[in-house]
Amino acid sequence: MRKRIKYYNILVASFFIITLSGCATPAGKAFETNESQVKLRSIQTRAFDTTDKKKMMQTIISTMQDLDFVIDKADLTLGSVTGSKFLGQAVVTMTVTVRARGEKQLLVRANAQYGISSVEDPGTYQDFFTALEKSIFLTAQQVD
């Protein structure tokens, strides 16, 4: 009899361990990245030799449209453009921000998300900057 109760206790305990661990909500997971903050910035950022923010933003918008994005939001003051595109059943969203770097340059940063995962692949961002370079006739410079 006593042995049976002991087994029963183990069973209940293991039941709770299994169910409770299943319920743990990993809120911290939302802030996890695979790459370091510095490396991620260098992957996502390029500098351009121009100070015309409006023209840069209009070029970013038309480049994103060429890449099948539909523009959802834009703000000239903040220098941000957000768009989304559909790849099969997955949704890709991308935010591009423009800000001044010193007196002579603009810094462009792109952030893409594919479904529920952040895009951290350097090649993907390079594709975007290559397309942007072609549209604006300026060289995208790697920033350290």
Binding site: Q58, S62, Q65, D68, V70, K73, L76, G123, T124, A131
Partner: protein, 176 residues
């Protein structure tokens, strides 16, 4: 069993594809479909005509940034097609006769949201005003699940928008 484990493992590992930020082939044709130019430098007139034509097509405005010439609007619409429902019901009835349960009717399209995003900006040489519109749609099925998401590429839809825009520019110039 091994197959099930393998398929679960593969689904779990589904990673982000590469190269989705490269221009696809035929993006120049898409530009032709999406862009029209107007012989005016009055961007404000064009952008208010854009807002007007979107209202004519019973869209509601979601977002705008006039300094960059952006207007975003959306519209809910019916997505049912009689043919699709009839086919699904027929299959369900066949299944019922066969002694099994199926619910194809629940997977029929029910409603859709169409989103339009319009950009108005000066043309490259600066003498004209360029308008570029893009449309997306999200379709829900009868059990309220998203069944499809897509970029609209039907030339007729773009043509209808621009027909309306030309009329709106004319009407607004005539103060109607």
């Amino acid at each position: 069993m091994a197959a099930i484990l393998l398929s679960l493992g593969v689904i779990g590992c589904a990673s982000t594809p590469k190269g989705f930020l490269k221009p696809s082939e035929g993006y120049l044709e898409k530009r032709q479909l999406q862009i029209r130019q107007y012989d005016t430098t009055n961007e404000e007139q064009i952008i208010s005509a854009v807002a007007g034509v979107l209202q004519d097509l019973s869209f509601t405005l979601d977002e705008s940034e006039t300094e960059l010439g952006l207007v975003v609007a959306s519209k809910k619409a019916d997505a049912t097609s009689k043919g699709q429902i009839a086919g699904a019901v027929f299959l369900d009835v066949l299944a019922a006769f066969g002694g099994s349960y199926s619910n194809n009717a629940a997977r029929c399209d029910k409603s859709q949201v169409i989103k339009a995003s319009v950009i108005v900006k000066p043309s490259l040489e600066g003498k004209k005003t360029m308008v570029r519109v893009t449309f997306q749609r999200i379709v829900w099925n009868m059990s309220n699940q998203i069944s499809r998401v897509e970029t609209i590429t039907d030339p007729q839809i773009y043509q209808r928008f621009y027909d309306g825009l030309s009329k709106a520019i004319f009407l607004e110039a005539q103060q109607v």
